[in-house]
């Protein structure tokens, strides 16, 4: 018996391309009706493949579960779903209004309703002035707005958006976020596939992080971040000697790791060393630069560490409780805990077995 509280209830979804590339390796994922769900993951993790399977664009190797109460791949159900693909290409000879009316017709919306909705949506995405211009004249941001309107033209119960804010300026991004908020208020289920983590953080009720075709994390942002609350004690320590003293101060099983962190757009990421370990009482500790991170929720746990640091003569610059950002969760999920290396782009079994230059 289907649970009607789920808009998406996927179980064991797998996709293998050409017997070798395991794009999805048994994905199980649930999205409640009326929630905004974010799907994150590095390039090639299988996010778009998963969305395409739900939209019948890609045939799964194996799939169980339901979308809006019907089996995955049930064509008539698509009339109740809106979809904005990544890098979509609308016919260039159509105007914005014609595009909306055409795709409304393709979802079996009657002519009068399609016209009415097209006019309303053009206003919603602030494209009414460009409504009668050919798509060929639109900028990337305009295309995204029309794409979003297209995904809503059939008044769907479920909307799947693949990189909805890609190429959109900050004002446009904010407007798109407002549209998504209003969709949630109207009880629509929104499934967003995006790299814009800060935006997802503000709007998503729950997220899943996909790495190499598998769900690495799944849950509400609050749940995921609460488990990783920590205290951060920043001290004045600049030299290697200071770092060594700090390491000796805490009897943890320290292990040095390297983390590749992004720097700036168009610049190569850099490798940063850090130490990670566990204290005898089970508290997780991490030393990154001059900042000591202590896992745990209670402030009392941080006090002995603070005393020890001060007794050793270090000057404490800052002490604060830190809730990890979605970006940190994401980076943690895609980082190999043993090597500290970021997951290479691409699916498992693909040509990415070779070393990939970052």
């Amino acid at each position: 018996m289907a649970d009607n509280s789920w808009a998406i209830d996927l179980r064991n979804v797998a996709k293998i391309y050409g017997r070798r590339v395991h794009a999805l390796q048994g994905i199980s994922m649930q999205v409640r009706r009326g929630e905004v769900f974010g799907l994150l993951g590095p390039n090639g993790a299988g996010k778009s493949t998963l969305v395409k399977i739900m939209m019948t664009v890609v045939r799964p190797t194996h799939a169980e579960g339901q979308v809006l109460g019907q089996r995955v791949g049930h064509k008539p159900t698509l009339a109740r779903i809106g979809y904005l693909p990544e890098n979509h290409r609308f016919p260039r000879y159509l105007t914005g209004r014609q595009t909306l009316e055409f795709f409304a017709a393709m979802t079996k919306v009657d002519r009068a309703t399609a016209r009415k909705r097209a006019a309303e949506l053009l206003e919603t995405v602030r494209m009414q002035e460009w409504a009668n211009q050919k798509i060929a004249m639109y900028s990337k941001g305009m295309l995204q707005r029309i794409g979003l309107a297209q995904a809503m033209v059939n008044d769907p119960d479920l909307i799947l958006l693949d990189e909805p804010t890609d190429g959109v300026d900050p004002v446009g991004r904010r407007e798109i976020m407002e549209v998504l908020h209003s969709l949630r208020q109207r009880g629509k289920t929104v499934f967003i596939n995006s790299h814009a983590l800060s935006e997802l953080e503000t709007i998503c009720d729950r997220v899943a992080i996909l790495v190499k075709g598998q769900v690495a994390r799944q849950g509400t942002i609050a749940d995921l971040t609460f488990a990783r609350l920590r205290f951060e004690i920043e001290v004045e320590a600049s030299s290697h000697e200071d770092i060594n003293r700090l390491l000796k101060l805490f009897p943890a099983n320290w292990q040095e790791s390297q983390m590749v962190i992004p720097t700036a757009p168009h610049l190569p990421p850099k490798a940063v060393s850090f130490w990670r370990g566990q204290l005898p009482d089970g508290t997780r500790v991490e030393l990154r630069g001059a900042a000591l991170h202590l896992g745990g929720l209670e402030a009392a746990r941080a006090q002995p560490a603070l005393d020890r640091i001060r007794a050793a003569g270090f000057v404490v610059r800052r002490l604060q409780q830190v809730r990890p950002t979605l970006e940190e969760l994401f980076m943690e999920a895609i980082t190999d805990p043993t090597t500290g290396q970021l997951a290479t782009p691409g699916a498992a079994g693909g040509p990415t077995r070779k070393a990939v230059a970052l």
């Binding site: 890609v58 064509k75 009339a79 693909p85 890098n87 290409r89 016919p91 000879y93 055409f102 795709f103």
Partner: protein
């Protein structure tokens, strides 16, 4: 129905946006204007103020109808020029549809892949259907006004040309779906068209020569029977060898012809409705014994004339049903394969 109508309107808008559609239409318009300048006045063909007297040698109306309309306008412009432009213009229909970012939008709608494929295929025929319809309407009006012959049979060109285009468009669709490239679709379709044309021309030529050699062999054997000689026996043996070879190659090309779409033969069917029965009946030469003149593998000119009459007779026995039916069957096979590829593929 709503989706089919939407796809049809979309195809029309697509055509409107293509320059080639308007270029083809402009050329068709220019041809009709040129046609309107030609007229028939009594026993003469007129062009502007020029008169070309026929002196009873040929009926000017028949010349207008058969040579100008059938040979030049339908035979050359519609079956070659317009079709070539249509193939170039429509080669991108499927590669554009299945390009990344576009196909997602279509497949994510509640329409089956097969229905989308079939509808898109038929909307691809719209280019030729619209062009030929407008062109034939123009021809019909001009012919009626200029030579006072209102021939509705001219409109048969519409289904025939569309059928002929559809054979080639099926190949274009297959290559387009397979390679996702409009250029590859154009090149390979042109190759198939060329192959069909070659087969349809070489097969009757081989048949003609096989029959001519048969005729020559029978003649030599008659002579050998009346006056036996080593020379005749040797000639008969050579003729039989050549006949066997021509027979073998003819069978080969006849098989290829049976399989491949009959592009030229389909459009040539129009002649049957535009020409009189008398003009279509092959002329058989007089039963004279004039076997002088150049020979081809031992077959005299007269042998070839007799064989030609036989070939023409055989060509006329090929019914429209067999020509169009077998071509449509080939088209169907190609389309089934293309449709299977389209429906099975991940995008």
């Amino acid at each position: 129905m709503r989706q089919t109508l939407a796809l049809l309107i979309d195809a029309y808008r697509d055509l409107n946006s293509r320059k080639l559609f308007w270029i083809t239409l402009a050329i068709s318009g220019a041809i009709i204007i040129a046609l309107a300048m030609i007229g028939v006045d009594g026993d003469a063909i007129t062009f502007f103020r020029m008169r070309l007297e026929m002196h009873g040698f040929i009926d000017p109306s028949a010349l207008y109808r058969e040579l100008i309309i059938s040979v030049f306008i339908i035979g050359i412009w519609l079956t070659w020029g317009a079709i070539a432009l249509a193939l170039i213009s429509t080669a991108g229909v499927f590669p554009d549809l299945i390009s990344s970012g576009s196909i997602d939008l279509y497949l994510s709608k509640p329409i089956s892949r097969l229905r989308l494929f079939v509808t898109k295929y038929f909307t691809g025929l719209l280019f030729v259907a619209l062009q030929v319809s407008m062109f034939m309407l123009g021809c019909f009006v001009v012919m009626g006004i200029r030579i006072h012959e209102w021939r509705p049979s001219l409109f048969l060109a519409i289904p025939l040309i569309v059928a002929m285009f559809s054979y080639l468009f099926a190949f274009s669709t297959l290559v387009g779906v397979w390679t996702r490239s409009a250029v590859a679709a154009i090149l390979l379709t042109a190759l198939v068209w060329l192959l069909c044309g070659v087969v349809q021309r070489v097969e009757p030529w081989l048949l003609l020569n096989r029959l001519a050699l048969e005729q020559a062999n029978a003649r030599i054997e008659r002579l050998n029977h009346v006056a036996p000689s080593e020379f005749y026996a040797q000639q008969a043996s050579d003729l039989q060898t050549h006949e066997r070879w021509f027979g073998f190659f003819h069978q080969l090309f006849a098989a290829a012809r049976a399989i491949l779409p009959k592009t030229t033969e389909t459009t040539n069917l129009l002649d049957r409705y535009l020409m009189s029965r008398q003009e279509l009946t092959p002329s058989i030469p007089n039963q004279s014994d004039d076997n002088s003149g150049p020979t081809f593998f031992g077959a005299s000119r007269r042998d070839q004339d007799v064989a030609m009459a036989e070939v023409q007779k055989q060509m006329l026995t090929r019914t429209p049903f067999s020509i169009i039916g077998s071509s449509l069957l080939c088209e169907l096979v190609v389309l089934v394969f293309a449709g299977w590829l389209f429906c099975r593929r991940d995008y």
